[in-house]
Symmetry: C2
Subunit: 226 residues, 2 copies
Amino acid sequence: MTEAGQGSAAPEQASEGVIELLGLVAYASLVAFFRLAEDASLAESLADKADLARMAVTEFGHFELLRDRITELGADPQQAMAPFVEPIDAFHARTDPSDWLEGLVKAYVGDGIAADFYRITAHLLDPQNQAIVLSVLADSGESEFAITRVREAIAADPAVAGRLGLWARRLMGEALSQAQRVAAEREALARLLAGGSPAQLGEIGRMFAGLTDAHAERMAQLGLAE
Amino acid sequence: MTEAGQGSAAPEQASEGVIELLGLVAYASLVAFFRLAEDASLAESLADKADLARMAVTEFGHFELLRDRITELGADPQQAMAPFVEPIDAFHARTDPSDWLEGLVKAYVGDGIAADFYRITAHLLDPQNQAIVLSVLADSGESEFAITRVREAIAADPAVAGRLGLWARRLMGEALSQAQRVAAEREALARLLAGGSPAQLGEIGRMFAGLTDAHAERMAQLGLAE
């Protein structure tokens, strides 16, 4: 009994992957709260500020839900989030919006990528954890107001479309770059995302490709060239 | 009928005062959200960050409640908040915390002053508006965690008490200074706060004195000299 058999090791690894997934999403939500609140201050009107602040508040609710779930599963939230602090902070440091429109596009793009990611990962989880992730997913869509604002800005000044298109491509590139780093470094998480088998790591590449396709559709909705 | 009689002017003025009071509290809540979120980033641990962020989120809930109430009353929230943008922004510009402990004391002191103010003003309102202000009041108390943290910091380094004591006094001084400016500039609001009569403007001074007494009690709870 000192050596764990194949049969008992597998569920332990799966559980480690689940804690990592919850830690990743929890930290991403906490940082999204801070960044959206900060980016909201770039807005000129109180109504615009309030719209982005509302998204920030929703992200904080996700963080609390996921933090409490991690605690329920007997893990320490701070430890579960720790591996993702550096890549997620790096993503935000490299994608600091320089004006309100860039902040708006980042909120919309980020919200969209997160929703796609939740949709993909939900079915990899057991029913209880799946319910948590789906309830987080249900809140997305608050960024729809961004579509109108970005389209209005492009109508007023068509040159804006090129600049914001480049910005959105950079956002997606930085997100994928950090995601690839996380997938390479966190074996248990990568295994979970690949459907439980290390032989299926190519699955992660296919997942990233799916996220990129969905991103291209969102760019079209904003009226930006992909 | 071209000249409003004494009898019909009074309720109109009262209603203007109510809109001003709601606008004041709405804008104060919105700014508290942004400032608390910003100050939370000064915390080193994720748990500390989350505690202050939770207070920020609660403030945003207050803002939404008050904004919607102003709209229900047929007024424009942006216009109702406008007279208070300058004094409230000035208060925050003059009281920008330089470290986590100053941010913590500001959160605790600010939460306390706000709760006292809600308690005093609630009875000046009609039942429906009173219910809104009391529901905002019910949320206060989230800053209690600050007491433990500040006392721990003082235990670890007694010199901290003097510095934070001065800081808390400055916070209260700046708050009173801006409040006095608002009371002098907004006649309808001052009249409401004085119980409906311009002859009772001395009431406002007594209200400020009451806020200062309560502040002194909170300083003692934090372990700070007043």
